[in-house]
Amino acid sequence: MSLAKPAMRGLLAKRLRFHLPIAFGLSLVAAAAFKFAVTEPRKQAYADFYKHYDSTKEFNAMREAGVFESVRPTGK
């Protein structure tokens, strides 16, 4: 049984034509997944934290705890 002639040209081109769009697509999906699973929740967490943040109150709490050198706790 003699073998039939197989395709011998453009084998890499055929492979790339198939795999490169998939590779680009998967990369875009990976980037989108990271954006929506990590970046956006993180940004939201910061936004939520600072939405009702009272910097003066926090400063005074830190001052009373004695962590500053530039200002001493009140009293004493």
Binding site: L3, P6, L11
Partner: protein, 130 residues
């Protein structure tokens, strides 16, 4: 990295990218094969030209046609270079990559030439396995 010229050559039948012109007549597969058969058929081809030709040919996105390989093997015979002849067979198998049906087909087509020139295959020598 991927120039528009390379994309054009993906959709054409010719796989040569020695010069990435998008103008100029595209060489047909038959013209390409004939050119390489002529190259290796030069009666006084020297060892450098044989190596250069094979290395250039291996760089293309194709497995060389049996008729090109036959001309190359005969050039090896003229140069008394059995090692290169066997190496050419190894290169064909390597170029085929995952397409395992190509190498047996090429060996089938080259069998008369291999017998005539007394060239053993890597498999017959047992050097195809590491």
């Amino acid at each position: 990295m991927l120039s528009s010229d390379c994309l054009w050559s993906f959709s054409s039948t010719a796989s040569v990218a020695a010069r990435s012109y998008s103008h100029g007549k595209q060489e047909t597969d038959e013209e390409f094969d004939a050119r390489w058969v002529t190259y290796f058929s030069k009666p006084d081809i020297d060892a450098w030209e044989l190596r250069k030709g094979m290395n250039t040919l291996i760089g293309y996105d194709l497995v060389p046609e049996p008729k090109i390989l036959e001309a190359a093997l005969r050039a090896c015979r003229r140069l008394n270079d059995l090692a290169s002849a066997i190496r050419i067979l190894e290169a064909v198998k390597d170029k085929s990559g995952p397409h395992k049906e190509i190498y047996p087909y090429v060996l089938q087509e080259l069998q008369p030439t291999l017998n005539e020139l007394g060239i053993p295959t890597p498999e017959e020598l047992g050097i195809d396995k590491a």
